[in-house]
């Protein structure tokens, strides 16, 4: 397989993943995108081993290694900082039970579960909301995705920086 064929394949797989994500949201089935994403990564990993015209030498390996290490250094600091912030939110949440409502239902404020009142009413009975923990987990997923995108763009940035440093785009006077 040629390198360009691999890039086309990666693009097609990416589009399929977007479709799977949409379908997963529509069907409210998180397993669909989870399994689909893992399958896509395995497929691309297998496909990249079949590339015949790619030459990775010690300089390009060094560039990848340096960019990866720099990304990791930035990423662990950001992950640590956001995790500490999340822990503070978790520790600051009230742990006492809500007072019972007349019909024995729990009066739950939407703000307390992170859902704006404009989307739902001011308060809802617990039975109206599927699972508070799952909703919070969903919002946490947004943050994780943002961090992963940050990681990806950081890697690209560091890759460009080290590629320039080690003469990737030097002009040839031959």
């Amino acid at each position: 397989m040629k390198q360009n064929t691999f890039y086309i394949l990666a693009g097609i797989v990416g589009l399929i993943e977007v479709g799977l994500f949409y379908l997963s949201v529509q069907l409210s089935n998180p397993m669909l995108i989870t399994v689909g994403f893992i399958a896509a990564v395995l497929l691309l990993y297998a496909a990249q081993r079949l590339i015949t015209d790619r030459r990775v030498d010690e300089r390009s390996a060094l560039i990848n290694q340096k960019a990866g290490m720099a990304t990791f250094m930035v990423f662990w600091v950001i992950i640590f900082a956001t995790s500490l912030g999340s822990a503070v939110i978790g520790l600051g949440a009230p742990s006492f039970p809500h007072p019972p409502t007349p019909k024995g239902e729990l009066g739950v404020s939407n703000a307390s579960i992170g859902v704006p009142d404009s989307i739902m009413g001011a308060t809802h009975a617990a039975r109206d909301i599927p699972d508070h923990g799952m909703i919070r987990l969903g919002y946490f997923g947004y943050m994780q995705l943002a961090l992963l995108f940050l990681m990806f763009f950081s890697y690209v940035g560091f890759r460009v920086y080290y590629a320039r440093k080690y003469g990737e785009w030097e002009t040839d006077e031959e």
């Binding site: 030498d57 060094l62 440093k165 003469g167």
Partner: protein
Amino acid sequence: MSDSGYIMPVSTGSGKQMKNKIKVFRAMHDLTQEALANELGVTRQTVLAIEKGKYDPSLELAFKIARYFGVSIDEIFIYE
């Protein structure tokens, strides 16, 4: 040394730097960068980066270069 068997180029911070005469030897053997890169199993950009002093090759690659030209390493690479 890394798992891939090459030594990372390290800046000594002493103001000294590695210089090389690859371009001279290449000219003597009438070789293009592409041809030398193919012989050494690296990319043309790597040969170019070494010639310009942007990248210090691993010990393994330095030996390959020296053996290809039939000279010792210190005839090609100078630490000054």
